[in-house]
Every structure is written in C-alpha cells, then in structure tokens.
C-alpha cells in the first residue's frame, strides 16, 4: 500500500505522472492533399525536413557560387565540411576513387546532421529522424547505391558470386557462409543502417522528454519532492549536451557506413 502510494504520487490536481509515450511522435496534419489517389499529410516533421533541405541547398549553393582562391567566411565554412567528409570519409574509406562520391556523402552528412539537430533546436524540438520513414528511405538509397555500383563494376553474376562465395574459404564452409552473407549484405545492412539512426534519435528524444516532463510534473507536486525539480531540469540540460554528441556521431556513422558499403562493392577480388 505504502509502496504503491510512493510509486504514483498524486498531484494537487489529482493526476499522476504520465510517462512520455509514442504519442509524442504523432503530429497533427495541417495540410492534406492527394496526388493520383495517394494521400499526403504535411505535418511538423515534413515541414522541418523540407526546411532542412532548403537550408542545406541554399547554404552550399551560396558557399560555392563564386569560389575564390582566398575563401570568404561562408565559403570557408562550406569547405571545412566538404574537406572533412572528402578526406576523412570518402578518401580514407573508399580510396582515391572516393572523391567521386564526396558530394553525395557531404549532402548525406549535412542532411542527417541537420535533421537530427532539430531534436535539440528550440521551436523544432523533435528530430526528424525519430520517424522511421526518413532513416529507412536514406538507408534504401545507400542500399541501391552500393548494389548498383557493385553490379555496374563487376557485372550481375560476378558481383553476387563474390558476395555469396568469398574466395579463400574451404568448400564445405560455404554451406554455412553463403546464407549468412546473403542475409547480412542484402537485408541486415539496410535494416541496421535505418534502425541505428532511428533508434538513437528516438531514444534520445524519449530520454529528454522523461526529464523535461518530469521537471514540469515535479513542480506540480505539493510535497518535498518539489525540491528535485531543479535536479531533473539540470539533467535535461546535461542530456541535451550529450544529445549534441550523439547527433554528430550518428550523422558521421551513417555516412561512414555508406562509404564502407560502397567501398566493399567497388573493391576488387582479393
């Protein structure tokens, strides 16, 4: 009896604490339209995604519109981002040929980063990538990209032969290895790519919600527990800083894994 009373302390208004649920990720559509019978709902999330696309496009276009030998502030900012992706991801992972993919990887990094960053930006305060559709589609693009490049480079048969029957393995091992390779390359790769990004953003958002809704709840409690509200608020701030790290890290990981899959598809038989 006492334990139950402690577990759900009742506020002055008589309402207990409601932990954040999936409802936090559902937004009302404020603009509906349909094209060829397909329903489109424009929500806050979609608006933010379109805004991110616009910001990235304008930023990079403005940065590299009139490139100068001695870059201005904007060009320097654009060059720092591009150089980082080009040198430490594209060239390091894929090799010399990776320069060809640097523009895509830079766009991918910027898009994922900005859409994650909405999670801690005031007014936005929900990461776009906490809806599975966005990471899933990005993962699908990566999946199509590396398979297309592999087939283009080696031909359909040899590409799958190399993927399913890696050379230098005793024959009987293929009984075990081939199904594993098949599932891991064609199904697990895109799945984990999407779910990793989604789950990180989802979990981070839930974690922030727990402490922020906890703070507002503790402020309404009419006993000594009120004293813990500042602690909870401080925790929310600390976790926001931690989220900043995760946001950058996940954008980096998504890009580097895409580069790694591309490099695997392009690599010559060894």
């Amino acid at each position: 009896m006492r334990a139950a009373a402690l577990a759900t302390p009742v506020t002055a208004a008589g309402k207990g604490y409601e932990p954040p649920s999936l409802e936090a990720f559902h937004f009302k559509s404020f603009f509906d339209f349909s094209v060829l019978g397909v329903q489109f709902h424009v929500t806050k999330i979609v608006t933010m995604m379109l805004f991110a696309t616009l910001v990235i496009a304008i930023f990079f276009l403005a940065a590299f519109r009139h490139p100068r030998l001695v870059p201005g502030k904007l060009q320097a900012a654009g060059e720092i981002i591009y150089d980082f992706i080009r040198n430490s991801i594209a060239v390091d992972v894929i090799g010399r040929e990776g320069v060809r993919f640097a523009p895509y990887l830079t766009t991918l990094f910027a898009f994922v980063f900005l859409n994650n960053l909405f999670g801690i930006l005031p007014l936005a305060q929900v990461p776009v990538n906490s809806r599975i559709a966005f990471p899933a589609f990005l993962a699908l693009i990566s999946w199509v990209l590396f398979n297309y490049l592999g087939i283009q480079r080696k031909g359909f048969g040899p590409y799958f032969k190399e993927m399913l029957f890696p050379p230098g393995v005793p024959k009987p091992v293929y009984i075990l290895l081939t199904p594993i390779e098949f599932v891991s390359t064609l199904f697990v790769r895109p799945f984990t790519l999407a779910v990793r990004l989604f789950a990180n953003m989802f979990a981070g958002h839930i974690m922030l919600l727990v402490f922020i809704s906890g703070t507002t709840y503790l402020l309404t409690v009419s006993n000594f527990s009120k004293a813990f509200a500042p602690v909870s608020f401080l925790m929310a701030i600390v976790l926001s800083v931690f989220e900043m790290l995760i946001i950058a890290l996940q954008a980096y990981i998504f890009t580097i894994l895409t580069a790694q899959y591309v490099s695997g598809a392009l690599a010559e038989e060894h």
Binding site: S21, L22, S88, D92, T192, V195, R196, F198, A199, N200, F202, A203, L249, Q250, Y252, I253, I256, L257
Partner: protein
C-alpha cells in the same frame, strides 16, 4: 509460474535490461582496446578513432533496438 504471475507493468523494461548486457560489455571492450592502443602508440590515435567509433555505433545499435522494441510490441 508464481514469479511470472507476480510481474505487473511493462515486461519490456525487463527485456531492455537484458538487451543492454551484451552491448554494455561490447562497448567496454571496444573502448578498453582503443585506450590501450592509444596509450601504447599515441600517434595511432587518428587511425584508431574512426574504427573505435564505428565499433561503438555497431554495438550500441543492439541496445537501442532493445529500447525501441517495448514501444513497438508493448501493451
């Protein structure tokens, strides 16, 4: 049987605890190896860091999948 009946609330939270064991050990091992690698050869830091972060992300994903599952299959 009695123990199973005795559990109330979301069983998913127990599942998350179990799901976090493996990645917890894994992330510990990854950073232990990274730290000792950099301690032995400080100039190798630049090479080791992306590898360590990559391993960290791969292991962490498992724990996060565990976190999301109760929401997906809850209730």
């Amino acid at each position: 049987m009695i123990a199973v009946v005795g559990v109330t609330g979301s069983v998913g939270s127990l599942g998350y605890g179990l799901a976090a064991i493996g990645p917890g050990i894994g992330i510990g091992l990854i950073f232990a190896a990274y730290v000792s690698g950099v301690a032995r050869q400080p100039e190798a830091r630049g090479v080791l860091q992306p590898i360590a972060l990559l391993g960290f992300a791969l292991a962490e994903a498992l724990a996060l999948i565990g976190l999301v599952m109760p929401f997906v299959f809850g209730k």
